[in-house]
Amino acid sequence: MKRLLTLFAVLSMGGAQLAYANPELQKIIDDPNQWAIQTGDYANQRYSKLDQINKDNVGKMQVAWTFSTGVLRGHEGSPLVIGDMMYVHAPFPNTVFALDLSKEGQIVWKYEPKQDADVIPVMCCDTVNRGVAYADGKIFLHQADTTVVALDAKTGKVVWSVKNGDPKKGETNTATVLPVKDKVIVGISGGEFGVRGSVTAYSIADGKLLWRGYSMGPDSDTLIDPEKTTHLGKPVGADSGLNTWEGDQWKIGGGTTWGWYSYDAEENLIYYGSGNPSTWNPSQRPGDNRWSMTIFARDADTGVAKWLYQMTPHDEWDYDGINEMILTEQEMDGKARKLLTHFDRNGFGYTLDRVTGELLVAEKYDPVVNWATEVVMDPKSEQYGRPQVVAQYSTEQNGEDVNSTGICPAALGTKDQQPAAYSPKTELFYVPTNHVCMDYEPFRVSYTAGQPYVGATLSMYPPEGSHGGMGNFIAWDNKEGKIKWSLPEKFSVWSGALATAGDVVFYGTLEGYLKAVDSNTGKELYRFKTPSGIIGNVMTYTHGGKQYVAVLSGVGGWAGIGLAAGLTNPTEGLGAVGGYAALSDYTALGGTLTVFSLPN
């Protein structure tokens, strides 16, 4: 009965979405045979209704074909499939290929932008790009140098192009874009360069700037209504993005927007999170530093914020809040609710009411998380919604030039951008995670435009007394806030997951395995070692009536920096054993798309 109710809620809401969203795009998104945007759907569920490949036959899966991107560095994101065409992208120089699936993947067109190579070192952590998006006959590419370009999906010709930022000031891009109605929603990177984050809506038709909302600054910049915009149910008041900062620090305040975007057509709200405040030295920026580390719900047409929730006020650990917001319709405490579930870098899995911004659940999704004891859930408490920071792990309280040790998670978070998947069949979230802790020593730094603005020294290592690996792949119940099962992994799981109606969940590993597991039990059903480590996201589509599963391999990104040579062993000499393994012992560079199917 519960399942039926949920299903009904999904169907009725799906119907409502058709009426409001971009109708052509919504139709393609709703068709499981195609994959039109990086997140699979507006809800960011990464769930496919396809079930030809299922838990009974996935063990027989084989490689159908492969494709080299010709680029060596980290490959994030995934290809798209629109009809007979597949669109494959690469990291810098951000090549895009259109492949004709009806002609065995023949290259129909290739687009390679000319970009100043000076953008490469301004990108914090490798030259990754999380992929293109489709809408209205156009392929949208947001290049490393922040040029947003609309390409004719049939010919690859540039329809329009617009500059979203300035790499000379450290503004770059790694994210995909989200087409919504007549707009394309675009973020920005550069939190380690003192960039002030913003989200911008451009017209799909001609690239005209329609609105831009900053993460901090006066209300006119942040598009926050002091009376109507709420934080945990209360109006935020005037200039909330200014009065939690000292002096002009907000102008170089970070809060960049390099993660994923989701959209609820019925509420007409887009959801995303903002990144770390700059610098990493908390003593240089007293105050809560609003609205860094915040979940935003903005009106898609005007950009005005409806509600906000700051997860980590006054960050002291680089726990960016940019991870995806997964939208679900579930029954909770006997009520059908529109939920938003978010696995934050700070190690807490949050469940909120996405209409009101009410906080429902905040629980640790890795038991080793120790920087805070809990998030206060009592609305009457002055501390409502705030994490309770443990003094020992507070880099602010310990002060500048003091090394705080044993903080879990590390700066790369219990999970970074690598997106989780959700199956409405199991009502479970499948989450790729990091299992890494750190020492963190902040110190004073000066700001120079276009130069790194970090101000902390870090060492990272696996948690003491754990399985010795640096990652887990977990199944999470977002209503109870509990881990249902957890698969230990040698390295951080840095690949986006995919759940399907075939009761299978797919994910990639840094050694390069594509794995398929049973969505109910986590039992491994299949693995194949691709040419390089996987930091891309798994997707699925059909062609000629046959289901395919595809993933980009090509190691790099944050994982390629921290893990390439293996992490520091803080207890070396104390007889510690385990997985302080170097990724370079397992895999090497190179971008390849691998496409799987069942044998004929």
């Binding site: 980290g74 190579a117 490798d126 120079t448 130069q451 020294t457 190691v555 803080p570 070396e572």
Partner: protein, 176 residues
């Protein structure tokens, strides 16, 4: 966030002078590692090139310790922890040994590009970045100590006190 403009150019001018002196010294190849002198807490080779020093009880010089901190703030997001290299940027613990000091300084100050069909490798110019330039010798000697394994991975345990001359030079460079 603000810094008087005067301090950094002085440092840069001094570096330029050092760089021009480099070619004359390339003829012979003396020991580039062993500390021959200690000038106010800064250790130098017989050729006057900055180097690290590890005392018999394992105490390391201040600059090497400082270099550990600065490296992990400014360099490690591309070059990996402890100079070990990343999936795309070279292991600087090796570069600090194989490269001449003055070439090392030149690449950090002015940057370097290797962009071709096989590589998209770009070292930015840090010449205007006080957080790097004021600690260039610190970073260099730390990487050298890593390259010879004189200092193991992880946080150095015992260090010399910070000499007043080093404190003064730092303040002058940063313009504090």
């Amino acid at each position: 966030m603000t810094r008087p403009a005067s301090a950094l150019p002085i440092t840069l001018a001094a570096l330029a002078l050092l760089a021009s002196a480099a070619t004359a010294q390339d003829a012979e190849k003396p020991d580039n590692i062993t500390a021959a002198s200690n000038e106010n807490g800064r250790y130098l080779t017989a050729d006057g090139v900055p180097t690290y020093n590890v005392a018999p009880d394992g105490t390391i010089d201040w600059l090497t310790y400082s270099g550990f901190r600065r490296y992990h703030s400014e360099c490690h997001v591309c070059h990996g922890p402890e100079g070990e290299g990343s999936s795309y940027a070279p292991a600087l613990k090796t570069s600090a040994i194989t490269m001449d000091y003055y070439d090392f300084v030149d690449v950090v100050t002015n940057g370097r590009k290797k962009v071709n069909a096989a590589e998209n490798s770009v070292m930015p110019a840090f010449g205007q970045n006080a957080n790097v330039m004021c600690y260039l010798d610190d970073i260099y000697v730390y990487l050298k100590a890593r390259g010879t394994d004189a200092v193991p991975r992880g946080r150095p345990a015992k260090k010399e006190a910070k000499h007043e001359a080093i404190r003064q030079a730092e303040a002058d460079c940063l313009g504090h």
